[in-house]
Symmetry: C2
Subunit: 204 residues, 2 copies
């Protein structure tokens, strides 16, 4: 609330530019353009946007089962009777979940970690939704955990960490395949991806 009080005494344009510039991918210049666009587009749009921001944080919560962002708890994916609750796909963030949903291939359920391990930035296992996952493994009848964290240093270490923790549970643990993307040209693929693709080769 201190921040809100300070804002009241400042120039509203400067204040909004500073606030907007904290959003990802928004710098000083684009924040300025946005502020002037808000002033030029009529009050109704600005009010609707302000309400939209409030409603977003007021109405969206974490699903108590899979930690997905949702209005209703549990979320629509956990509630879907057509999905197989025995397969749990572990992802870093909700946009990753949405990306997998867009494939229309996956019919299991999810567990959102809300990040990946990065000890140097202070993101240790207790900062992620790992404990919730272990509790689910005890309570629910889960047959397979698919580790779908990103193929980055952080995502790979998170997958490795989970692989070790999950040894204590009678569950199949798999990792999504890494390799040359579809439509890719070997000539232009980076070395790391190409060596992953070679390591992960399969019988044809």
């Amino acid at each position: 609330m201190r921040e809100a009080k300070e804002a009241a005494s400042r120039d509203p344009i400067r204040n909004l530019i500073d606030l907007m510039a904290r959003l990802p991918g928004v710098g000083e210049k684009s924040a300025t353009r946005m502020a002037f666009a808000l002033l030029g587009n009529g009050k109704e749009y600005a009010y609707t946007l302000a309400d939209g921001i409030r409603q977003l944080v007021d109405r969206i919560q974490l699903c108590s089962r899979c930690c997905n962002l949702t209005e209703e708890d549990p979320c629509s994916i956990c509630c879907d009777p057509d999905r197989d609750p025995a397969i749990v796909c572990v992802i870093e963030n909700v946009p990753d979940l949405l990306a997998i949903e867009r494939t229309h291939e996956y019919r299991g359920i999810y567990h959102v970690l809300h990040g990946a391990l990065a000890p140097l930035e202070g993101i240790t296992p207790d900062k992620l939704r790992i404990q919730d996952l272990l509790e689910r493994l005890e309570k629910e009848d889960i047959q397979e955990v698919i580790l779908a964290t990103n193929p980055t240093v952080e995502g790979d270490s998170t997958a490795l960490y989970l692989r070790n923790v999950l040894r204590d549970f009678p569950v199949r643990v798999t990792r999504i395949a890494s390799g040359v993307p579809m439509g890719g040209d070997l000539e232009y693929i980076d070395r790391a991806t190409l060596s992953r693709a070679l390591q992960g080769r399969r019988e044809l």
Copy 2:
């Protein structure tokens, strides 16, 4: 208000992404990143941002003299006793005004048109603050009008239009210089700019 009601029944994430994507320079992808950042950064920031947007449009109005955006009417530039009210610089938009202010060179006052002529997009002279400028010329003791619209097709036609309209007034009308920018290399300057620079050559 219809828009606000519709929003209440929709998914708050989808709703905010659509609203954000209407801001300049924001597409579907960056709007999505922003929405998830708002959900991840704690409620206080989201509330402060929503309030900042409301305050912006509630507290900022047009200066009744120069049409600058301001909290107090008339604006701080029009009220400044150190400025010369006999020189009026005409610009398209407030960001252009701020750019001129940053030079710390100009000590006259301003008139903001809020756009430039673009008849094909429906921006005719009556859509701009041209009538207000003519009224100022009648009421105030203005000696010089500097036409500082952008050196674009729209800005140039606006300057030309104003030049014609202002013939009826006993006032000096000037246009800012166009040419090779400082630090520019002739080799890389576009043809239009270079031919402007040649046309605008002066005795040394």
